[in-house]
């Protein structure tokens, strides 16, 4: 199996499994799923550091976009917490 097939298979297995695990715990927040996907994607990208530079550039770009999305989710959550009135 080539390194590219292994990379794709790893992503294709890890993401659905984590979805099933979160669904089993009745998680209903979409941002929780997205945050987990972003973390998993970044970790897998680091583990498969030897991908050809041409593909790596696109994968790194995707990683940057996902990470920005993750930061946006965190910012929205923090703003939400700060907006809540003090008990």
């Amino acid at each position: 199996m080539t390194v590219y097939s292994r990379y794709l298979l790893t992503v294709a297995v890890v993401l659905p499994i984590s979805t099933v695990v979160l669904a089993a715990y009745s998680v209903q927040q979409l941002d929780a799923y997205l945050s987990l996907y972003v973390l998993e994607y970044l970790v897998i990208s680091v583990l498969f550091a030897y991908v050809h530079p041409r593909g790596k550039r696109v994968l790194d770009g995707v990683g940057i976009v996902l990470f920005m999305g993750f930061l946006a989710i965190v910012a929205v959550k923090v703003a939400d917490i700060l907006r809540r009135p003090a008990p």
């Binding site: 979805t19 669904a23 994607y41 530079p53 593909g55």
Partner: protein, 249 residues
């Protein structure tokens, strides 16, 4: 006939479109957050497949293997005609026409060749204090070294990274690489090699193509001539031992 690249593209596009439709349906019809997330996961996997389609080699591995085999057999025929089996010395680009080449001494002297300076751009060159002669040849490592984005560094970490990028990332010839240093010796452990030892005359001087690539990259990274001391082919690993040969400059 669909190539691997085309398969990845179709898979990526299929997952992107399918994932988008699935997410939309899950959101509007079923109103299930886990299913929407699953659709988004499919979109992400589709993007990865499309990105990887750009990383696949343009030349099929079988074609590359044919070219390598042909080149090796031609070199083997030349060396066999001369009856040459002396071990090669892998030279960094500084000493050999701007490319990492291998010097095969025409006569065995019992010790490693001593390079007195950059060698000329010729096949048969004189390299020693006493005017010893040798063949200056390109190896698989010569071409591989030029594929890398930047020159490897001299530390074991940098060499491991460069050899891994070449053998695992670019050429997909192995699953992993580990490099250790013991004084002037470098030990490279290549896991699950996909290129065999190749029983050809040229390998008596140059080593196997895999070892040749490793030696060329180590020579280029350390900027010193490198001699191959041993190659140990085990069940799922090949252990290559190299030694720096300080040049006579």
């Amino acid at each position: 006939m669909m190539t691997s690249q085309t398969r990845y593209v179709w898979l990526g596009v299929g997952l992107l479109v399918g994932g988008a439709i699935f997410s939309l349906a899950a959101w509007l019809v079923v109103e299930s957050v886990p299913l929407v997330a699953l659709g988004l996961a499919a979109i992400l996997i589709g993007i990865v497949a499309l990105a990887l389609s750009r990383a696949l080699p343009a030349i099929p591995p079988e074609a590359s293997g044919v070219l390598l085999q042909t080149g090796l057999e031609n070199l083997s025929a030349l060396l066999e005609e001369i009856g040459l089996t002396t071990p090669a010395l892998y030279l960094p680009s500084r000493l050999a026409r701007g490319k990492p080449l291998a010097l095969i001494p025409l006569s065995a002297s019992g010790s490693d060749p001593s390079i007195q300076g950059p060698l000329p751009d010729r096949l048969i060159v004189s390299y020693g204090r006493r005017g010893e002669l040798g063949l200056l040849v390109r190896t698989a490592g010569t071409t591989v070294a030029q594929l890398l984005d930047e020159r490897p560094g001299p530390s074991t970490g940098e060499l491991e990274s460069a050899i891994g990028a070449a053998l695992v990332g670019r050429l997909d010839l192995a699953r992993g690489v580990h490099v250790y240093r013991d004084g002037e010796r470098f030990v490279a452990e290549v896991d699950d090699p996909r290129l065999g030892r190749q029983d050809l005359w040229a390998t008596r001087s140059l080593g196997s193509p895999l070892a040749s690539i490793v030696a060329a990259l180590v020579a280029e990274g350390t900027d010193q001539p490198v001699a191959m001391r041993s190659e140990d082919w085990q069940r799922r690993q090949v252990v290559i031992v190299l030694e720096l040969v300080r040049d006579g400059l």
